[in-house]
Symmetry: C2
Subunit: 360 residues, 2 copies
């Protein structure tokens, strides 16, 4: 690569000072038209591109918003890729949707978007790489230790996505999540009220997953409201929430002592889809013998047979809200009060719950 042309080069060649060159870009109006055009001409000729770094250093702002997500933002993505073959390309991952939402919103606000997935590094890791180059950023919950975030949050706005709800309000972090609890309650109630389910089972995530726990709470709330026995723990917990785990979970529940449940409520779609396969393999009919529901609203849920009844999360909007929050802070608004936003989810009724079939 040739050596970079700088303000100095441009200034010299066009017979003005570097200050004027700078002005041509920052406040074109403040430079006489004739001078401006001369400078611009030379700039083009030299292939001059203002250094974003120098600019940022001098003006203390970058015009960039960031997004950090875990190396593994999508439960079962890898597993899916290997199982499903060609469908790998089709699957829209969470991170993709969030990225898209953020990119659009950032663009509207004149920002670019810097994305980075974790990948262990030096002393302080991923966040610093991002934090050092943006005006503010969003983090998928769990990507970064809360302590680190809190420290950085003193310098720039940060919004946590999809993380712990009203709980650990220890910090200055803004927060956007979807209504996990409400959504799970609604879908469970649907099972109970519309399909007469009275002995469902819940397959959840590890207790360390905030989303998983919130969903279980919603599930439980629905049972309680219907005067059904509500266990204090999920019937089953799995580690990865993959299709494979979902299939395994279905097998286990089918074979368990108390008899098979009337419905299996999964904490995400991946598992539910895995279960659908496993159930079909064993000749168990869905929804006639057992109803199945998921959570997330992945595209695959529409392709499987029977179609998966689930709760759709507005991931795109999540990204957009994150940007709105960041931009708001950057513009000086919202100074102070920590914001925590919950986006509504929606029930998607397909066939796996019993809809479109004779009532049980």
């Amino acid at each position: 690569m040739g050596t970079a042309a700088t303000v100095y080069d441009v200034a010299e060649r066009s017979g003005v000072s570097i200050a004027t060159v700078s002005r041509v870009y920052r406040q074109p109006e403040s430079v006489r038209k004739q001078t401006r055009e001369r400078v611009l001409g030379v700039a083009r000729e030299l292939g001059y591109v203002p250094s974003g770094n120098a600019r940022g250093l001098a003006s203390r702002s970058t015009g960039v918003l960031g997004l950090c997500f875990p190396d593994y933002a999508d439960p079962g993505a890898e597993a899916e890729a290997s199982e499903a073959g060609e469908s790998d390309d089709d699957a829209m991952l969470y991170s993709d949707q969030i990225i898209r939402g953020m990119e659009r919103a950032a663009r509207r606000n004149g920002y670019a978007l810097l994305i980075a997935a974790s990948l262990e590094e030096g002393p302080e890791g991923l966040v610093h790489k991002v934090a050092g180059r943006v005006d503010g950023f969003a983090v998928l919950a769990g990507t970064v230790p809360a302590g680190e975030l809190a420290a950085i949050a003193r310098r720039m706005p940060i919004v946590v996505l999809a993380g712990p709800g009203g709980e650990r309000r220890t910090d200055l972090l803004d927060h956007v999540e979807v209504a996990n609890e409400d959504g799970q309650e609604e879908i469970t109630r649907h099972l109970i009220e519309e399909h007469g389910v009275r002995r469902p089972a819940f397959v959840g995530a590890g207790a360390e997953s905030p989303d998983g726990e919130a969903r279980f709470r919603g599930y439980r709330r629905a049972l309680l409201a219907a005067d059904l026995p509500a266990p204090s723990e999920p019937d089953l917990r799995v580690g990865m929430m993959t299709r494979a785990e979902g299939a395994r979970a279905a097998e286990i529940l089918l074979d368990r002592a108390g008899g098979a449940p009337e419905a299996i409520v999964f904490a995400n779609d991946q598992m539910a889809v895995g279960a659908l396969h496993a159930l079909e393999g064993r000749g168990v009919r869905v929804p006639e013998d057992v109803a199945v529901t998921g959570f997330d609203g992945i595209p695959l849920g529409r392709l499987v047979r029977p179609g998966l009844t689930t709760v759709r999360q507005p991931m795109r909007q999540l990204g957009e809200e994150a940007v709105n929050l960041l931009v708001g802070r950057l513009n000086g608004g919202l100074a102070g009060e920590r914001v925590s936003k919950v986006l509504p989810v929606s029930l998607v009724r397909r066939q796996s719950c019993g809809c479109g079939t004779a009532p049980r």
Copy 2:
């Protein structure tokens, strides 16, 4: 936001020089463990985050790769959103796939990814914003005037995606594209040889679309090879390549003087899907009355009935190759010779061409 802590603050509080603070981050090994930990402690305590800008300025590199794409990277995306309702969320756009591919590859190479869609700005526009903040970047063909790119390419590696093939080799730009011509030839040959089509029609893009033209060349080549009459122009050209346009095109071809074609070969999937709807609306059976093919391999093509026979483009891989090229250049390799890479595409046989149905 509180005021930023700098190397100076950290250095002072931990009783070392700024050089040592810097070393703690750049080459941890070169600092005595005890010192290092003290510095790190103070850093954390102060909420210190190295300024990426200052870093970049001093070291002339950012650790970031960029991607520029047009505000409108996806043919028919907007149209699709309004027509299809809920499917908006599901559709995996080109840009999404490229982004995903680039992000993964970038991550593997220790880079973060900066993405920005065009949006008119100051004197020099989008590219400069990106170019000033990255070590190299990819551009979707047509996003940026070739002249600007050429100028910037003197400073940093640039790779053009999906653009003009071997043609305008005026510059230092590397280049990655998919085998448009080969793919279109193959699918056309398939129609001719497997399904006995002898009077197909081609619906292409405007002549300014390099992809569209390449596809038409492939189509033509297949006709020529089969000793069929090969027109020098597409039977129809449309502006936007949307579903609506595809539907309209189908109507026109059906009604045209010479009689309906045996097959309609569309230059992209969006149009083909639109045509499928229109045809069904008119009671024309696909593939019995007329075969239909697309190009791209969008997920929707698998959902429609009949399933759309098409050519799949490896967009993900396109992003990955772009990063590989960039990283290669940055590591000093490839110095000089302009690289132009063509990725193979693959034929996806579904039902719209006549496969899985009685031969015509």
